[in-house]
């Protein structure tokens, strides 16, 4: 019931965006900027590049919002745009890829709580232990919260592939995750 209300509200916001309402779009940006940023960051390993990608993704979304059908969930669409941006960037800049173990995740503004930094650090290390494909799949499924089908669509893979990659990744992370949940 609550979900439906949220969806309706989101639908209304999208309709307003489609009429060129920037305040409505601002609401969209503020709602999804962090999840997109996290996804981009964990994919690229660079805070600056991740922010650029998020910005580009939102610009593309703003440009194409007219073709979006209100009533459909917005997040998978945005994530898909972002993933396309990141992947296309990574394809053309394969050599300049930044490793995940740099410290660029720290907000230059500086008022990051120490706990946040620790959390991010941990996740970064977890991701590092996975292959690129597995990382992408896990990121979209559990970090961005996309369904199996949405993940498959965003990555341009078959659902079966995504499923097997997910289970293999989870197998790898089993110990870590179990320990964490117990703690």
């Amino acid at each position: 019931m609550i979900e439906q209300q949220t969806a309706m509200t989101e639908g209304d916001i999208i309709k307003r965006c489609q009429t060129g309402d920037r305040e409505a779009f601002r609401a969209v940006v503020e709602k999804y900027q962090n999840v997109l940023f996290g996804t981009a960051y964990l994919m690229t390993g660079s805070r600056t590049i991740a922010e650029d990608h998020v910005q580009e993704a939102f610009l593309a979304a703003w440009k194409n919002i007219g073709s979006f059908r209100p009533g459909y969930p917005l997040k998978p669409w945005l994530v898909r745009i972002l993933v396309n941006k990141v992947l296309s960037y990574q394809r053309t800049n394969a050599n300049t890829m930044i490793s995940l173990d740099d410290n660029s995740a720290i907000d230059p503004a500086g008022d990051d709580p120490a706990e946040d930094i620790a959390q991010r650090d941990q996740l970064r290390r977890v991701m590092q232990s996975l292959s690129t494909e597995q990382r992408q799949v896990v990121l979209l499924r559990y970090f961005a919260g996309l369904s199996l089908a949405e993940t498959a669509a965003a990555l341009g893979r078959r659902q079966g592939t995504v499923k097997s990659q997910t289970s293999r990744a989870l197998e790898q992370l089993r110990e870590l995750i179990t320990n964490d949940n117990q703690s």
């Binding site: 962090n34 939102f58 610009l59 907000d107 706990e115 896990v138 992370l173 995750i177």
Partner: protein
């Protein structure tokens, strides 16, 4: 199995919790919106340029090849088609120019009318040729020799009087008129007679719907004789006209003299009879008197009749609808180069059947690997031009001769009883030319196949590119 699934669900939930717990720690830098907002403008204004750019991107590659190849093929086809049409038009044109000579040679017998560029000629039975553009209707073929249109009847006017000069003239005429509708014409003639103070003496009509005929004998006052003839002349085409004037003055005078003498004799016999004394004398005089009286009556009768004949002119009017089988049927001969003789023969047969024509003879022969056919076709005169034109379109015309109909009426229609009698001698020879319909068809088919192939290749190429892109 169930345990496995529960296990995996459990693991999924744990993973979800694990990641969501840490997701909150990822925050985009402050002032993200303020950095993004100005770019929304730039994005919108640049969108049209982007769209143009994306159009060219869309067009580039296989699409461009496909579109340009298609356009190229279309241009080739259009050029080939126009060349073909131009060539065909030229053929028709040159043949039109050549017809008149062949026409004159083919069934000549008359002099060729010079100075006309028109293709067809009309030959009259008397051998005179006039161009088709001249309305042939104005010239009648078997008109009475003395009658040539605006006749003045000079001799009749001077003799057509009984009172002024004392001359007794009986005027009679017979007129054969061709009219479109006999019954209407009969009514017109009746009205004419009544209007001129005359009457219809006799009327008979006969004939079917297509060929009606009526004979009328009208009497009009002698002084209206010419007027009657002139008016009759306007009712239709004068086929023949015969005017007969008989001067009966001498006979009339003779009859009058005989009558006077007989009357005098009658009077004297009456006087003698009155003076007769004996019965035998009386009987003898009576006998003679009876003879004389009978003679007087007879003479009076003849005089009355003659006076009547002089006073009222007799005109016999013969009305007919345009006659059948007047003139000669049109005929033509045609040699056409075609791509496929057999197919053309079949289509010609269909064409002839569609206009209820007859194919008199049809023969197909092979000579040096080339097929040829000759057909003798008979069609209704009405369909002659149409059939000739259609046959001419079957291919390249090598030779064409037309002998036009000499008939002035629209005879030989399918409705009339006349059989189709317009002859067409058709020769079909296998074409040696390049641009036959078959060739054009093959070229079009090849072009279509080429376009389809290009599209398939382009689509395949694009699909390959996409796959590569994804990979």
């Amino acid at each position: 199995m169930k345990d496995e699934k529960n296990n995996s669900d459990n693991m999924e939930n744990k993973a979800q919790k694990f990641f969501q717990k840490r997701a909150a720690s990822f925050k985009v830098g402050k002032g993200f919106w303020s950095k993004l907002e100005p770019r929304l403008n730039e994005k919108q204004s640049a969108s049209s340029a982007k769209r143009k750019e994306s159009f060219w991107q869309w067009l580039a590659g296989p699409r461009l090849i496909a579109i340009s190849s298609t356009l190229g093929v279309l241009v080739i086809l259009a050029t080939a088609g126009s060349l073909w049409l131009t060539r065909n038009n030229n053929i028709n044109h040159s043949n039109t120019a050549g017809i008149i000579d062949r026409g004159a040679i083919a069934k000549g017998g008359g002099e060729t009318y010079g100075g006309y560029s028109t293709a067809t000629t009309v030959t009259l039975t008397n051998g005179m040729i006039i161009p088709q553009t001249t309305p042939a209707v104005t010239i009648t073929q078997t008109s009475a020799p003395f009658f040539n249109g605006d006749i003045t009847f000079a001799p009749v006017t001077t003799t057509n009087s009984t009172d002024t000069t004392g001359k007794q003239v009986i005027s009679q005429a017979s007129v054969a008129l061709e009219v479109s509708d006999v019954s209407t014409a009969v009514n017109q003639v009746e009205t004419l007679a009544q209007n001129l103070g005359g009457s219809v003496d006799n009327m008979s009509s006969s004939g079917s719907q297509n060929q009606q005929q009526a004979n009328l004998t009208i009497r009009v006052p002698a002084n209206q004789f010419l007027a009657a003839l002139n008016q009759l002349q306007t009712m239709g085409t004068v086929e023949s006209q015969n005017i007969n004037t008989q001067d009966v003055t001498q006979q009339y005078i003779d009859l009058q003299a005989q009558l006077t003498s007989a009357q005098l004799e009658e009077q004297s016999l009456q006087a003698i009879l009155a003076k007769a004394t004996t019965v035998s004398d009386e009987i003898a005089i009576q006998d003679q008197l009876t003879q004389v009286i009978s003679q007087v009556e007879s003479l009076q009768g003849q005089i009355n009749y003659m006076q009547n004949q002089v006073a009222m002119s007799t005109i016999t009017v013969n009305l007919t609808t345009p006659t059948q089988n007047v003139g000669q049927a049109p005929s033509g001969s045609l040699t056409v180069e075609v791509g496929n003789v057999d197919n053309t023969v079949t289509s010609v047969k269909q064409l002839v059947a569609s206009v209820n024509g007859i194919i008199n003879s049809s023969s197909v022969s092979f000579d040096n690997g080339k097929e040829s056919a000759s057909l003798a076709i008979e069609v209704y005169r009405d369909n002659f031009d149409q059939v000739m034109t259609t046959l001419g379109k079957k291919g390249k015309i090598d030779q064409k001769t037309i002998q036009e109909s000499t008939g002035t009426q629209t005879t030989g229609t399918q409705q009339s009883n006349t059989p189709p009698d317009a002859m067409i001698y058709l020769s079909l020879i296998q074409s040696t030319g390049f641009w036959t319909a078959a060739h054009v068809t093959i070229i079009i088919a090849a072009a279509v196949i080429l376009v389809v192939l290009i599209i398939i290749v382009a689509a395949a190429g694009r699909a390959g590119l996409l796959r590569k892109k994804k990979a």
